[in-house]
Symmetry: C2
Subunit: 341 residues, 2 copies
């Protein structure tokens, strides 16, 4: 059975949401979990939920915590007994197959690169996320924040990794891969995207050209590639617009009795809608291109989001995504040595 | 009285929306208009609307049209009799004070730089837009697409221009200026934003630090500065999320009788909401940093959006924004010669 290490000290409501998510996961999925964090605190939380012992849940003691405000490099150097560092070493030593954290994203990424390592064929691990679309099928966006500065070959590697992720997790045979830009023609964009366009065009990916922000959510492509700065801006801007619209509609609905009644009657539609477009349903962002499975969750993840991240980690292990990415990039490099260097 | 040249051949529904917007503007605002485009077509449209002669509306003949698909540089070189080129020359010759187009954005920007010219102190004109926020006050985003590649000094100049725009158009005394990045700390972001941060910090702007995508729409800052690639991605991603959410909510509301009734009763709230967050209400994006007023509208602009762009162009002229920007950047350059070069 797959064993996943879950950092319980990550999210904004740690360790509650993590432990609830973990218990949801063991009750619903065929999975074993190692909860990493301050042992007495974890045992207290488990006990409070009537889980004195569960043979599929073990506890790994890590007394220190890397907080959201800790500067990344000093934190991962000095806090050797933090849940992130202890948990990643556990996976690296082969005692578990995957690591999940909702903690300081920068620290998890840096520590994962350092401890889990990157295969020789891969230049830069990248953070991939699945966004909801109008057609109901998700779209993979990569990189959403691991690499603020990128060269064109990095974007090509992100495309290869995103392509495998979409094949394995979304179950697509030949995902449509697009390049994020600010115009559909090849000549549009910046220096990075124009060069990356040429590499993608010569690759054997199902490259469909540039895509603009307006078409991210239409479901017309399956993988969108960009540098980590742009990807992170897209992700956070989308969240911001979503929150503004929800808050704005609520303000307006509360202004009269008629619209309040309307809101009450409409509620089931809004609830279905929220579930359809709830990013937590998609379950965390895997750091693709490290030697083991590592999934990073939003700091605001609730129990459901944690449970879904555990499901994604399990699927990534079962479908051998890490090995497939390594193999595919190495093959690509051999065959197109000139194209990607 | 201010005279504005309006390109009637710009938008997706040209010249209908342009001419309707123009007639709205002359009936509601103290303004004179020059409609530029194929003369007989414009006169037909005016006649259809019972406007055989209006002493505040004149027609300037331009038989050619630069389409959305025309490649920018060849188009502005070859189509010398297009509405964009003829209209801009009219303004450059002092026969009118501002130019407005909903046409090919790349062509309008390139032609405006070439014909209207940039003052010596300004390196790069930038496109500024006003986005709606939850507090009801707009936020200026600059650059939204004029410069896909930027140096840190460009971002500083965009900040100075955006600051004047916010003071003059939003009526703020000391706009809070933020730098778009992917983390709030100074060290977060990419090479461009880290360098720009230092310049902004040393400037005499009311610089409040980095802002993330999630906080664009909260109303916590007044001016957001970024390179044109990032700004364009933000603008179009926001539109995409907005459209996805509206379409998604509508789909869900139509699924049952109860929610249909709810939707009917809630309609006034949705309508107010749409008006509050309707980008067309804010009226076009000025190209800041050219020697005359030039406002670029969305290709999908309706008559209301055109009318509002005319209002914005009028205000930019009356408040002498072009002169103030030139003066402010020249002053800044003298005083901080080292900081911005």
């Amino acid at each position: 059975m797959i064993r996943v290490v879950l950092d319980v000290m990550g999210g904004d409501r740690a360790p509650c949401h993590e432990i609830e998510g973990a218990l949801l996961a063991v009750s619903e999925l065929d999975i074993e979990l190692t909860l990493v964090g301050p042992e007495s605190r974890i045992r207290d939380e488990l006990r409070r939920r009537g889980q004195r012992s569960n043979r599929r849940v073990e506890v790994l003691h890590a007394p220190e915590v890397i907080t959201m405000d800790d500067p990344v490099i000093p934190a991962i150097r000095r806090k050797r007994n933090s849940s992130i560092i202890v948990g990643l070493h556990h996976v690296q030593q082969g005692k578990a197959q995957a690591f999940i954290s909702a903690g300081n994203t920068g620290a998890v990424m840096a520590a994962a690169k350092m401890i889990l390592k990157t295969p020789p064929a891969i230049d830069r691990p990248a953070l991939a996320t699945i966004l909801p679309t109008l057609t109901g099928r998700g779209v993979v966006l990569v990189d959403v924040g691991a690499n603020a500065e990128c060269r064109p070959t990095h974007l090509l590697q992100f495309a290869i990794m995103g392509n495998i992720y979409a094949r394995m997790i979304l179950g697509l045979r030949s995902p449509r891969v697009a390049l994020m830009s600010i115009g559909e023609e090849e000549v549009k964009g910046n220096d990075l995207t124009r060069e990356a366009y040429k590499l993608l065009e010569r690759s054997d990916l199902n490259f469909v050209g540039n895509i603009e922000g307006r078409n991210i959510y239409t479901g017309e492509v399956d993988v969108i590639v960009c540098d980590g700065f742009t990807g992170n801006v897209i992700l956070k801007t989308s969240e911001g617009v979503f929150e503004m619209l929800v808050a704005g509609i609520r303000q307006e609905l509360m202004k009269s009795v008629q619209t309040k009644v309307g809101a009450f009657l409409s509620r089931p539609a809004f609830e279905t809608f929220r579930r359809r477009f709830d990013w937590s349903e998609f379950g965390g962002a895997p750091l693709l291109g490290v030697k083991e499975v590592c999934v990073i969750c939003h700091g605001r993840s609730n129990a459901r989001a944690i449970r879904n991240a555990i499901r994604v980690a399990k699927e990534l292990c079962e479908r051998r995504v890490v090995e497939k990415i390594e193999h595919e990039i190495a093959r690509f490099e051999r065959e197109h040595a000139k194209a990607i260097r």
